[in-house]
């Protein structure tokens, strides 16, 4: 009993002293991630708030073609003109479905807009030292996976009522901008600023928590213990996808976290992280329950994890097979 106790104390003390002898390095790495991600999260927050107040759902809906596949493909590119991050897109998706947008098209919009947009392309390229190849791969893989998921969901959930949650929970999401015409420009501007503020703090806490976890891993987890997972073509992909889900970092800045793992994890797993992260994460899932039925959510999660995982693993085996980028 006594031995056991002293052992526990020693190991706790060790952890404590390791932590404090490394606090300066911890601080430098953490603040480095935060300062670098800051401009991107701020741009995302401001743009999203402007859209929330100045672009009507009607306008976006009118731009979408009527044909099913064409609609899905078009929805994938909405983000190019309206870069919305994954947190802003869920309520909008719910709103659009309520206004008569087909479920697969709305899903495509929700999955693609946070990845296929200029802000993400720019921040990904910046994070990987100006590599537009990596940014291009991320965006095009997200495009293909989004189309696949939307088509499968279109097959399985033809009936809108199966796809939607039964209670009219979406009402409270829509309530914010009911009488759009009545609101003056000045009012809209001030609402935009207030929204930016709220979203900055809402997103900031996920970003900072993610950065803290990431820094913790980088500073204290011995390289040897994780390098075997990180270099394994299969388990590295699974680990990075779990990480993407748990991290819940905004798509505008997650590339910086991904790039900090680039030297320790396989390239395929980094790609899986960057494609899955914006589609599916912890904070997103909570919002899904307000919009979709549980069955649709489960289907969505399974499909997204499956396609992103397969993509990452295939990429790893291609690279192992000697394919050079």
């Amino acid at each position: 009993m006594n031995d056991y106790q002293s052992l526990a104390t020693v190991s706790f003390y060790d952890l404590f002293s390791i932590f404090f002898s490394n606090i300066e390095n911890f601080r430098m790495i953490f603040l480095g991630i935060v300062i670098e991600a800051l401009p991107f999260i701020l741009i995302g927050v401001f743009v999203s708030a402007v859209i929330n107040n100045f672009v009507s759902e009607d306008f976006i809906r009118r731009l979408l073609p009527k044909n099913k596949l064409a609609g899905i493909i078009a929805a994938c590119f909405v983000g190019v003109f309206f870069p919305i991050c994954e947190c802003g897109i869920v309520p909008i998706t719910g709103r659009l479905i309520k206004k008569g947008l087909p479920v697969p098209t709305a899903i495509a919009l929700m999955l693609a807009a946070p990845v296929i947009n200029p802000v993400v392309a720019f921040s990904t390229a910046s994070a990987f030292n100006g590599s537009w190849i990596i940014a291009g791969m991320r965006l095009s893989l997200a495009f293909v996976i989004t189309i696949l998921i939307s088509l499968v969901i279109g097959r399985l959930f033809s009936n809108k009522h199966i796809a939607m949650t039964k209670q009219s929970d979406t009402a409270d999401l829509i309530a914010e901008t009911d009488n759009e015409e009545d609101i003056t420009i000045a009012r809209k501007l001030s609402n935009t600023l207030v929204d930016s503020c709220n979203e900055f703090f809402d997103m900031g806490k996920y970003l900072l928590t993610g950065a803290l976890l990431s820094t913790f891993v980088q500073t204290f987890v011995p390289y040897n213990s994780i390098s075997s997972i990180g270099q394994d073509p299969l388990s590295s992909v699974i680990a990075m996808m779990a990480f993407a889900f748990g991290l819940s970092v905004c798509s505008t800045s997650d590339a910086f976290i991904a790039s900090s793992f680039a030297s320790t994890f396989t390239f395929g797993s980094i790609l899986s992280f960057m494609v899955l992260g914006p589609m599916l994460d912890m904070k997103n899932m909570i919002m899904f329950f307000k919009v979709f039925s549980p069955r649709l959510i489960v289907t969505l999660v399974v499909l997204a994890v499956f396609f992103c995982g397969v993509t990452g693993i295939v990429m790893n085996y291609l690279l192992l097979g000697g394919m050079v980028l």
């Binding site: 390791i18 800051l38 401009p39 701020l42 914010e176 207030v194 503020c197 703090f201 891993v217």
Partner: protein, 256 residues
């Protein structure tokens, strides 16, 4: 409309002011480059402006409350715990001073300690070019600006550099796979931000090198040779003279 003290808006203003002050002082004291690559500076200046706008918005909300706006900070679920990550960040920012990553992180064998003796991962092709003038020199002094360029060229065109004299300053870094007569003389290369800083340098060899401890700053002069290390051929300095550096530079990074 009732006017009351909005606690959340106050906390938010405090946090925003803290961030603005921290980043501004880092920029003024030229310490920002120790956190992020200088190419991000214009973006960071822009974010100071945006943060100031948010600060004004929050500050105005402290004593007034837009009762009808659903997204108003005072009307819904703002639990105190949501500020914890921000307060931790501010605590770390202000409680300690800015340093370069040091050998502690090397000793700890953290994820950040992968030695690059030949190439920086994902180095953009542009930075590998425009060094052809270096190829023709017989004596090369490595400094902050040419450090990565020269080492990358030495690896790419090894045969052109064999027999040339070099002078390099950096700190001592050892891996278990090195012989006692070997050490790497390295600088941390910062590709994007301090999270991706990785030791980058040249392997050096001399029978007397065993006496230099890790993290000691040295200026080494010697001749380039090619040798196998961990299965790949890399440039190695055959050391002719060693000086210890008493005061290492405050900013110890090199930027690709």
């Amino acid at each position: 409309m009732k006017i009351h003290f909005n606690k959340d808006a106050f906390t938010r203003s405090f946090i925003l002011a803290g961030f603005v002050y921290f980043i501004y002082t880092m920029m003024e004291s030229h310490q920002l480059a120790m956190y992020v690559h200088p190419r991000f500076f214009p973006l960071i200046q822009a974010s100071i402006v945006l943060l100031c706008i948010l600060l004004v918005v929050q500050f105005l909300q402290i004593f007034s409350c837009h009762t009808h706006h659903a997204a108003c900070g005072c009307s819904h679920h703002n639990h105190t715990w949501m500020f914890v990550p921000f307060l931790i960040a501010l605590f770390l920012a202000f409680a300690f001073s800015t340093t370069s990553l040091d050998a502690k992180i090397v000793d700890n064998k953290g994820l950040n300690t992968r030695l690059n003796l030949n190439n920086i991962p994902m180095l953009s092709p542009q930075s590998k070019q425009d060094g052809s003038s270096i190829d023709s020199l017989n004596y090369i002094e490595l400094n902050e600006t040419n450090f990565i360029n020269v080492i990358t060229r030495m690896n790419n065109k090894r045969e052109d550099y064999i027999g040339k004299q070099v002078k390099i300053t950096g700190f001592v870094y050892r891996e278990p796979t090195m012989k006692p007569s070997q050490l790497a003389i390295v600088r941390y290369a910062l590709v994007c931000c301090s999270a991706d800083a990785a030791p980058f340098g040249l392997l050096s060899e001399n029978i007397d090198l065993y006496k230099f401890k890790a993290n000691t700053w040295l200026t080494i002069t010697g001749t380039i040779a090619a040798e196998k290390y961990k299965g790949t051929e890399i440039p190695v300095i055959k050391v002719t003279s060693v000086e210890t550096v008493d005061t290492p530079p405050q900013n110890q990074y090199v930027y690709p």
